[in-house]
């Protein structure tokens, strides 16, 4: 079945236990979703676990996915919650605090020792800033869409993004 044109049918079939239909859902979404989880988690094994757990959870929520956008929104939001739950129990190293970075021009006050790779930088910053960066700058969501997924006002999201981007630009290895 063609994914785009038959999305609703595929979802309906998957709700009824049609394995092929659910397999189609995974095949058509896993690349984007796994990429998101990789940036979020910074570790392949953790990304796999989060990805897997969220897809399994999605089985019980298939009826909520009216279109592909809602499906992705749910996947990303659930993965974010999953990851945050995980870090509550397992986080050892503290994140770099971006709260004090001002909204004005000028450099970020927080810097890392030496420049870092993309994944490394993302792992340094608090997940609430990280996910904003990933959704808007990696996945291409609008501010409005990203704020709905995260559960923030658009202004709050913009402020977070600004601080995260400043820190990001100054510390990325080019």
């Amino acid at each position: 079945m063609d994914w785009q044109n038959n999305f609703k049918d595929i979802i309906k079939q998957a709700q009824k236990g049609n394995e092929e239909a659910f397999s189609q859902i995974i095949q058509n979404t896993q690349k984007k979703f796994f990429g998101f989880c990789m940036y979020l988690c910074g570790d392949m094994h953790l990304a796999q676990d989060v990805c897997q757990d969220v897809y399994i959870k999605a089985i019980e929520h298939l009826k909520d996915f009216e279109n592909e956008t809602k499906l992705y929104n749910w996947l990303f939001k659930t993965a974010k919650n999953h990851y945050i739950d995980f870090t509550r129990n397992h986080q050892n190293k503290p994140y770099i605090d971006l709260e004090d970075i001002s909204d004005d021009e000028g450099n970020a006050s927080e810097t890392c020792e030496g420049k870092l790779e993309l994944i490394e930088i993302l792992q340094k910053i608090d997940p609430k800033y990280r996910i904003a960066l990933i959704l808007v700058d990696s996945e291409g969501y609008t501010y409005r869409e990203a704020s709905e997924i995260i559960g923030l006002t658009e202004d709050a999201l913009r402020s977070r993004l600004h601080k995260a981007r400043k820190f990001f630009i100054e510390n990325i290895k080019k």
């Binding site: 796994f34 940036y39 990304a47 004005d104 600004h162």
Partner: protein, 184 residues
């Protein structure tokens, strides 16, 4: 916030994400899908889809065995007769559940001793004392069907409970069945 500067910052960060895109980030391992699908199968095996087997069972049961079909009227307290040792298709009529039917997520059928669930395709089901039936996918023609087989003669009570999606009990029904001696 200076909008021009913010736009430049946004553009730079987006470019970095694009140029740093690594293929391995986008390709999950093949076994991940295999594991997910295994859990998907397990999920439905424990819920309703085994009971689509009932549709396929009906013709062979009628053809090969003597099947007694009883329509159980929902609010009736009558005792119904059945033959021990023969699969019995029970259809719980749900017309009178109209007021709450939109809230029902699933039904749970609980059997007493000496009655078992019956499925030609999923023999293991006979070991379960209770079964969860998904409301949306199990109800057929305004009735909730399942197949049981009595192992011994005597009166028995089958309990059917109806729950919403928050596992709250909405309604409970007792089905009184009296099994005659084993068919020879």
């Amino acid at each position: 916030m200076n909008t021009r500067l913010e736009n430049k910052l946004e553009k730079n960060v987006k470019e970095i994400f694009q140029t740093n895109l690594k293929e391995e980030y986008l390709n999950p391992p093949v076994y991940m899908q295999t594991r997910i699908l295994a859990r998907y199968r397990e999920y439905f095996a424990n819920r309703v889809t085994s009971f689509w087997g009932i549709k396929k069972l009906i013709v062979p049961i009628v053809a090969i065995l003597l099947v007694v079909i009883w329509k159980v009227h929902f609010f009736s307290s009558d005792i119904f007769l059945a033959q021990a040792g023969i699969p019995m298709l029970v259809k719980v009529e749900i017309n009178q559940l109209d007021e709450i039917s939109t809230q029902i997520a699933y039904a749970k059928v609980t059997l007493p001793t000496n009655i078992q669930f019956y499925s030609k395709n999923y023999a293991d089901i006979s070991n379960q004392r209770s079964l969860i039936l998904n409301w949306e996918t199990t109800v057929q023609n305004n009735a909730l069907p399942f197949v049981v087989i009595g192992k011994k003669a005597g009166p028995k009570v089958i309990i059917v409970n109806f729950y919403d999606k928050f596992d709250k009990l909405l309604f409970s029904k007792k089905l009184h069945v009296s099994f005659n001696g084993k068919h020879t």
